[in-house]
């Protein structure tokens, strides 16, 4: 029901390193009502233009400095994704995304003890690469 928190408007952009696009990123807020340690982020799934992004290419960051793979994140208890905080989801992809609009679907899955199965928030948006 908080699915409209999933994709921040105008947050899709290519990421450049040494003059070359190494990938792209977008921003997301938690669809729960409180902040949680990153280890409780059960999964992040992305589709761009209907095509799923390989899990291994996804990195997650709270501050733009420290990036974790989803595998690493399972043990990250010392960083808390705060409620309302825009986290960065980065996808490693040579060349980044072509300029123009893309249909992006982001799904975040979190674990919460009083809900028996991990619950997810999903949003699909057509976004232009900034």
């Amino acid at each position: 029901m908080f699915d409209n928190y999933v994709l921040t408007d105008n947050s899709l952009k290519n990421v450049k390193k040494d003059g070359k696009n190494t990938g792209y990123e977008m921003r997301t807020r938690i669809t729960y009502y409180r902040g949680i340690p990153l280890s409780m982020v059960h999964d992040i799934q992305i589709e761009v233009g209907g095509r799923p992004v390989p899990r291994e290419s996804i990195r997650f960051s709270l501050d733009g400095e420290q990036y974790f793979t989803l595998e690493e994140m399972t043990t990250v208890t010392s960083y808390k994704w705060e409620y309302g905080q825009e986290a960065i989801v980065y996808v490693e992809q040579d060349g980044g995304l072509p300029e123009g609009e893309h249909e992006v679907k982001l799904t975040q899955v979190t674990r919460v003890a009083y809900i028996p199965v991990p619950f997810s928030g999903t949003q699909t948006k057509t976004m232009a690469v900034q």
Binding site: M1, F2, N4, Y5, R29, Y33, R34, G35, I36, P37, S39, M40, H42, T74, T75, T77, K80, E82, Y83, G84, R111, V112, A113, Y114
Partner: protein
């Protein structure tokens, strides 16, 4: 006029907070301006780093509270038993987390923690000496969908009766006294494609005075209801409908001595100044009759049913709820 006191849970303003429209300080200022006596917080929502908040955050909290003269009365805490994806935390680990929360409450000047439903019962007794030392009461939330008959809730109340301590009690949510299914939820699901016949079935059950939780949380639904279900939205709606329980106030009788606080859950204030689903007038009359002198904290949950393209206005909803409480108290 009775000695029942009014508070607001900052849960109410979560959308405004998440979108950066209101800071923690703005929320407290709004309460002060509305003449609210107490505030209930969710430390994991608005205090960064909780339960290990920085000295700066603590100092800022005390400054905001003091400047605005609103009393912090409850912290809604939660034990992250599913911290790892490959195992549940052990009892010892859960106990350590609870102790951290008790210490945080103490530092925030709060003498009551609300434990979310399904908080492990087996850590309460071991945490009791610290709760006594810090003067922080541990009270389990009794929430719609998990009221007194729920086995996990009963496990806690059994222990509560056994310990018979002023530091172990309950926070009851008024969502267990729904006389009608919230229509903001119905509209939300209809907008998502809910079969109107399913909504009608649920509304009729309420109209007959039945408790929908007893229907929707069963593995097998009544044929008439099941035959109306055509989509995942229909099924989700029916499952959620069980979160609005329809109990008589007398269900509280035996627990009253242990009730530390109420969540004045509400979904929609109507034009007439009443809550659409919950009979607050009768509820407060019941509490007066029982001599309750604690807080009722407005907890607005209608925001989650905002239709696409509409703005959530928790501020005016909370104001109207407070006005209603004030007039009934």
């Amino acid at each position: 006029m009775s000695s029942i006191k009014r508070a607001v849970s900052l849960y109410s303003y979560q959308d405004e907070y998440a979108r950066g429209k209101m800071t923690l300080e703005d929320c407290i200022k709004e309460l002060a301006a509305t003449g609210v006596e107490g505030v209930e917080i969710i430390s994991d929502q608005m205090l960064w780093g909780a339960p290990e908040v920085s000295e700066e955050t603590l100092a800022d909290w005390h400054r905001i509270i003091t400047e605005n003269g609103v009393k912090p009365v409850c912290n809604d805490i939660y034990i992250n038993t599913v911290l790892y994806n490959n195992r549940k935390l052990t009892t010892k680990e859960n106990l350590e987390l609870l102790k951290k929360e008790l210490r945080l409450a103490h530092k925030l000047g709060i003498t009551l923690v609300r434990l979310v439903s399904l908080t492990p019962t087996d850590i309460i007794e071991a945490a009791l000496p610290l709760a006594e030392e810090l003067n922080v009461v541990m009270a389990l939330e009794v929430h719609g969908g998990m009221a007194f008959h729920n086995p996990e809730t009963k496990k806690f109340t059994d222990l509560m009766f056994k310990l018979n301590s002023p530091y172990v009690g309950l926070v009851v949510d008024t969502g267990i006294f729904c006389r009608k299914h919230p229509r903001v939820s119905t509209q939300f699901f209809l907008n998502q494609g809910l079969n109107p016949a399913v909504a009608e079935y649920i509304d009729n059950e309420f109209a007959k005075g039945r408790d929908v939780e007893a229907i929707s949380h069963q593995r097998v639904l009544p044929d008439e209801l099941e035959s109306g279900i055509r989509s995942w939205t229909d099924r989700e709606y029916v499952l959620f409908a069980g979160g609005y329980e329809n109990h008589d106030f007398s269900v509280l009788d035996e627990y009253m001595p242990f009730i530390k606080h109420f969540h004045g859950k509400f979904f929609e204030m109507t034009e007439e100044g009443t809550e659409y689903s919950i009979p607050f007038k009768e509820f407060i009359d019941y509490l007066k009759d029982k001599g309750y002198d604690g807080y009722i904290a407005s907890e607005y949950e209608g925001g989650r049913f905002a239709l696409p393209g509409t703005e959530i206005d928790a501020v005016s909803q909370v104001r109207r709820h407070q006005e209603m409480l004030r007039s009934y108290i």
